[in-house]
Structures are given as structure tokens and as C-alpha cells.
Subunit: 195 residues, 2 copies
């Protein structure tokens, strides 16, 4: 469900890594990386998308530049600081003495906030997809409006939103986007329909 979200755990202690692994193995993230130090990030080029980093606050500040460099392709990064100090407890901090539920809750909360982020900011809504399909068939905003029984203004609004979300303005670009993203099937489109 949460696509494109990775969890990156950086901690010197293997015991902590193993413990977190146990907590996270049933999480909704599709990839979890465990490393002992930020230097090992070099073994993971191409890290991109949504990334949750579990790291000690200390390690974070000491490796800030390196982490930023290695995660430069990330869409969004969220940090959860793992602390050994029993009196440091906050929303963006995990204390190793917290109970398991509390920790998994914090992580799942982050994951679902990412989910909201992903779905709401990048994915096209049902209506937008309908508009895009008709657009791909060569129909004008006016014609699309007539088919969907909405006003031309609304179609224009949808197109604006589609272009904002996809960052694609041109009709040809949107057509290619629709084909690539399987919103329309090029095989099913008879050229005779395009007149």
C-alpha cells in the first residue's frame, strides 16, 4: 500500500538493529535498510522516494552532510531520533526504553502521513483520470464537459490540477503520460477514432 517508502536504520549497535528489525518486519514499508554507520550509505546509491531515517541525534548531526549527499534524490525525508537517554521522549524521538507498541505506533504514524502525502499530492483523482482519458482521445474541454455533464470551467480546473500534479502542460505530454501510466491503452486506440 505504501509504495516508494523506505526505512533506513542507522545504529552502531547490532542489538538495536536486530531489535528494530523485529519491530519493523511487519511494517508497511516496502524496504528496510539496516546499517551501522552513515558511511555505509555508499553501498546504497539510488536511494529515492520517501525515506524514514532512524538514527541517534548525535550520529545525525555528526553525519549531516554525508547523509544529505547520499539522500539527495529522496522525495521526502523524515527523521526519528533513537535515543538511549531515558528522559528524552518526544514525538520525533524514539527512546529505546519505550515499549514496542509505542515505537511501532510512531513509525506507522509517519508511514501513514507519508501515505497521505503521496496519494494526495501526486496521484490523480478519479475525476482527473476521467478527464485525462477523454483528453487523450482528442476531445476539447467543451466536449469533455458535455460527456461528463459538468461545466467547461470544471474541466479546465481539472486540467489545471492534472498539469500541476504531473508537471506536464502539453496535450502531447499528457497523452504520453497517460500511455506510460496505463491510463489509456495505445493498442486499444484505433487511429480512426482520433479524427
Amino acid at each position: 500500500m505504501i509504495n516508494n517508502t523506505k526505512i533506513l536504520v542507522i545504529n552502531k549497535s547490532d542489538i538495536i538493529l536486530l531489535g528494530l528489525n523485529d519491530l519493523l518486519k511487519n511494517s508497511l514499508s516496502n524496504e528496510i535498510i539496516y546499517i551501522n554507520s552513515a558511511d555505509e550509505l555508499e553501498n546504497y546509491p539510488h536511494l529515492m522516494g520517501y525515506i524514514i531515517v532512524l538514527i541517534s541525534e548525535n550520529d545525525f548531526y555528526q553525519n549531516k552532510a554525508l547523509i544529505n549527499k547520499q539522500l539527495k534524490n529522496a522525495t521526502k525525508i523524515a527523521y526519528l531520533f533513537i535515543e538511549l537517554n531515558s528522559d528524552k521522549i518526544s514525538a520525533n524521538t524514539i527512546n529505546i526504553y519505550e515499549n514496542a507498541d509505542s515505537i511501532t505506533n510512531k513509525i506507522n504514524e509517519l508511514l501513514s502521513s507519508f501515505k497521505r502525502n503521496i496519494s494526495n499530492k501526486n496521484e490523480l483523482s478519479k475525476r482527473e483520470i476521467e478527464v485525462l482519458k477523454l483528453l487523450t482521445k482528442g476531445l476539447s474541454n467543451k466536449e469533455i464537459a458535455q460527456i461528463l455533464f459538468i461545466s467547461t470551467y470544471t474541466v479546465i480546473s481539472h486540467r489545471k490540477n492534472i498539469s500541476e500534479k504531473t508537471k506536464i502542460k502539453s496535450t502531447s505530454g499528457l497523452t504520453i503520460y497517460a500511455i506510460i501510466n496505463k491510463i489509456v491503452n495505445i493498442e486499444e486506440i484505433s487511429t480512426s477514432e482520433l479524427i
Copy 2:
């Protein structure tokens, strides 16, 4: 080479049909139909494309309505009148007393005029393909003009001609046309270029 061109021979005399069959069997046409009367056209529904009709002038005028009805889906029809009268000789007339070469020449001339017709009227010119490629990349007429060092008017002219030839008016339709006809490669188009 000559695709979509049919020869339709209509003559009461089987001997003439057989004789013409001998003359035409090596012609460039991809389908030759021999019938004794225009009524038999009912057995050939869906006749379309480029059609050369060999018929006597008399039969033609007596069956004009029927022939027009049965050939209503033809893209273009050319008539060659087969005459029994030895003094009727002209470019669009075949006299059965003409020698074989003369007859095949007349038919091949018609076929190649059709070929010119087909290739020139439907295929996109070099410049049109250039314009189509840029169009597919989401560029406006103005931008295309700047890239090709021609005026926007010319780009518009090219687009008019492209739409006339392909019968496709919409940008999305032309994009799909370009993909289907390998004028652009969808794999090579990075969506980031489409912004």
C-alpha cells in the same frame, strides 16, 4: 507496391474476360474481379480503395446508378471503356482490336497514376515529419517555428497538411499517430522532457 488498388472487369463476353485476364494477370494490381454484368457487384460488398473499372461505354451508362451505389466506398474510381468498335480509340478507351502491349500500357499508366496519388496524398513529407516530432514533444507552433527557423505561418501550414493527410486533428491523436508510426519512440521520451 500498389496497395489497395483493384481492377474490376465487367463484360458480357467470357472470351473478352479470359483475354483480359491473360493480359492483366501480371499487372501490379493486387485484386482483379471479373464479372459478366454490373448486377454481380452485389456479390462483392466492401469494395473500397482505388478501383479501375473496365467496362463498355454502353454498359456503363446503362448501369451508372447501380455501379455508383456498389462502389460508394471507393476512394477513387477510374474508368477505361472497352469498345468493340474499331474506330473508337482514345486514352480512356480500350479497343479490343488494339494490340496487347497497347492495352497493358493503358492499364499500367492508370495504375501508376494511382500510385502517385496514393503516395503523394497520404504520406507525410520530411518537413511535416519534423514538425510532427516537435509537436509530439509538446512544443507550440511558435516554438517549433523558432527551432526550424521558419515562420509560425509555415508551421501552421504544415500542421494543416499533416491533419489533412492523417485525418487527425487533435494533438493527442497526432501524438498517438506518431508513436504508432514510429515517428517518435515512446521509450526514448522521458516524461521530464514533457514539462
